[in-house]
Symmetry: C2
């Protein structure tokens, strides 16, 4: 599949580029945070934040007073990048060390979401993105909380993914080196949930909390 724009076409390592919607969506759905890039007076800033994908839209949210949200709501170019690290690729040469990863880069201009229903749906989607099944258990935002929150939306029109998998690719001349080579697989894992010290007695964590995994 071809990239949506020349800006999102991978130039180097073109064989790692993926432009199909399924790959892009799967990476966005698995990661927990994105890194949002924008410029203020010529200085780039990169800020981590959580998000949700709904169809072909990406939602981010934050305090209405946040500089990032205020800047982006002004309609400036933005880049949202999501990265999953799947493993460390250990080659026999320093040069061929690498990582197995899946990343997505989205370019565009975010717009502020003003419709109250879409705002509520976006905020619920963000809770569900982080812990699927959680939203019905918790209190929904009050009007005051909604006023304090800005929601932005970025279309996934210009998105590209980059994927590296598999073992190291050493030069033939290095294959005889007496050095272990291979991949150390990595993944984000959940430990036993820690109850809030203020939790009332007799409230057990729900299955989506106890069995949490990405």
């Amino acid at each position: 599949m071809e990239p949506a724009s020349e800006r999102t076409r991978l130039r180097r390592r073109a064989e790692r580029g993926r432009y199909d919607r399924e790959t892009v969506h799967a990476i966005l759905d698995e990661a927990l945070v994105c890194h949002v890039g924008f410029s203020v007076e010529g200085q780039p800033y990169v800020i981590p934040t959580t998000y949700a994908r709904v169809g072909d839209l990406l939602y981010v949210h934050g305090a209405a007073a946040s500089r990032m949200l205020r800047t982006l709501a002004g309609g400036v170019p933005v880049c949202v990048t999501v990265t999953l690290i799947d493993g460390l690729v250990l080659a026999r040469s320093a040069f061929h060390h690498s990582m197995n990863y899946r990343s997505v880069v989205v370019l565009g201009t975010a717009i502020e979401v003003v419709d109250p229903d879409e705002r509520r749906r976006a905020l619920e989607a963000i809770v569900e993105h982080v812990v699927p099944g959680r939203a019905p258990d918790v209190r929904s935002p009050s009007d005051e909380e909604l006023r304090a929150t800005r929601v932005l939306c970025l279309a996934l029109d210009e998105a590209s993914a980059k994927v590296r998998t598999g073992p190291p690719l050493d030069a033939a001349a290095d294959l005889g080196r007496r050095c272990w080579a291979g991949v150390i697989p990595l993944r984000l894992t959940a430990a036993t949930p820690l109850a809030d010290p203020d939790l009332a007695a007799g409230i057990a964590p729900s299955p989506e909390v106890v069995g949490y995994r990405r």
Copy 2:
């Protein structure tokens, strides 16, 4: 401790800001990848890449032909952000959901490293950053590999960290809600190393590979 510049001072959630060198260094040393933000013709780009900290310097590297490295070598403003996710903070209200995390934001202008010895030391530091103890086992870069690699350096002069820890902070009125609240701790864990299919017989992974952890 005070921030090094007003640009790096946290405005919102100021209580999460940390400006001491120890905290900044510890986060940089634990994370595997950073997200590098820069602009090309007004469009921000955010690219994940590995790196190493040496003293008060951050090194990144890549193909000499890479657009990111070429752009940064031209002396443009850059932002390098590193994020560690420590846990999901599950509150009783959607609004107070959060994450426990440690992040570092570095602002500045990268410079290209041209001194051959510093280049070699930086590349070795990047291997050692990812897998401590690995560099002595592998073949060092050849002259040709060095020519194909660009190394950039960013001083940690303008760096700030942001740290959230602890349980959810619900409003008092929500504490009676019959809903589990607490933290799901997360960490990046290594699975059993996978040997390269081309690995010669009788080569076992070294202790730093078998016992790998961040």
